[in-house]
Subunit: 190 residues, 2 copies
């Protein structure tokens, strides 16, 4: 398990052996329950205990926009900003040809189905904008270029999250690549 | 001196006392020379040994654009990207009312003079765009808002460096403020 080495594993095992039976059983049951109850949403692939997930079910959200992320934890981070009121689509990874991860290993077909067949999108609303919220890394960018082409073929607008200076940073300490993005993407002030 | 504590200072002093005379004198002369030779450019306030500085003198640059930065080291960082071919203006700080730093303590009047009187800008070229390259901090933003208003009064376009995800970052680890900027500033992909 991540973050648990030989020593920690030993300590945990002995702790469970010393614990009274109901406590150990409660943990066993909690693990079994979580595996049984938490599924992927059949629409957006986010982790959920209801299907479709509460976000897809929320009729107060703008269902004509879909923000595409790599992992459920990216969705959680974006959702916590409170700045976005559309739907999501979780790719469950990114394209990585060297590791044998192509579009078939991700939920690309499910995303395209939502674009092609409005009935597959919550509320049967036609998707008008796909926002790419992939990591600003080499593989994230590659995945973004591939998706942008596929989405545009379908006549749907594609945008991506802004790239530039992170709020709170100091110009003199950020990398050249970040400064280049910041110059290239500069915005008129209203 | 920054980064030199009591111990380092002692070590340096003893090193100079042990060094042969010509070496110590060479260092003394170098320090005196640098203070004599390096001045602020009378146009952009950048550090330079010639006045105007080589950037202001370079007729190959686009003299209708001025990128405003807080410090000479910000200018150096932006210049190293090779992405910008216009001129600069160094404010020599930022507005900070609590520390008693107002527009009078900065080179704001010099910037406005360059806008008002093309003859004061290299090549007597009229400035058409002011790009604010201040630090993405509270004080930097405050300074930016003040300058934007002053520049706009003169009918000149104002833009600012892009704010958003820093290249190479992971969505799940960046702050909420950065994610909010990234959503708010998202860009259509061509």
């Amino acid at each position: 398990m991540p973050g648990i080495g030989r020593r920690s594993a030993e300590r945990l095992a002995f702790h469970l052996l010393k614990a009274d039976e109901p406590k150990a059983m409660a943990l066993a049951r909690a693990i079994a329950d979580v595996k049984r109850a938490v599924k992927h949403c059949s629409v957006c692939s986010n982790l959920t205990d209801a299907d479709p997930c509460p976000i897809c079910e929320d009729s107060g959200r703008d269902r004509s926009r879909v923000l595409v992320v790599e992992q459920p934890k990216d969705l959680i981070a974006l959702e916590q900003t409170g700045m976005y009121r559309g739907l999501y689509h979780v790719l469950m990874g990114r394209l990585s040809p060297l590791d044998g991860i192509g579009p078939g290993e991700l939920t690309v077909a499910e995303l395209m189905a939502r674009l092609d067949t409005p009935a597959k999108n919550p509320g049967a609303v036609r998707i008008e904008e796909v926002i790419l919220g992939l990591n600003p890394t080499l593989e994230g960018d590659g995945t973004g270029l591939y998706l942008a082409e596929e989405v545009r073929k379908r006549g749907v607008r594609v945008s991506r999250l802004a790239r530039g200076l992170p709020t709170g940073a100091q110009l003199e300490y950020v990398s050249k690549a970040v400064l280049a993005d910041a110059i290239e993407g500069r915005r008129e002030m209203q």
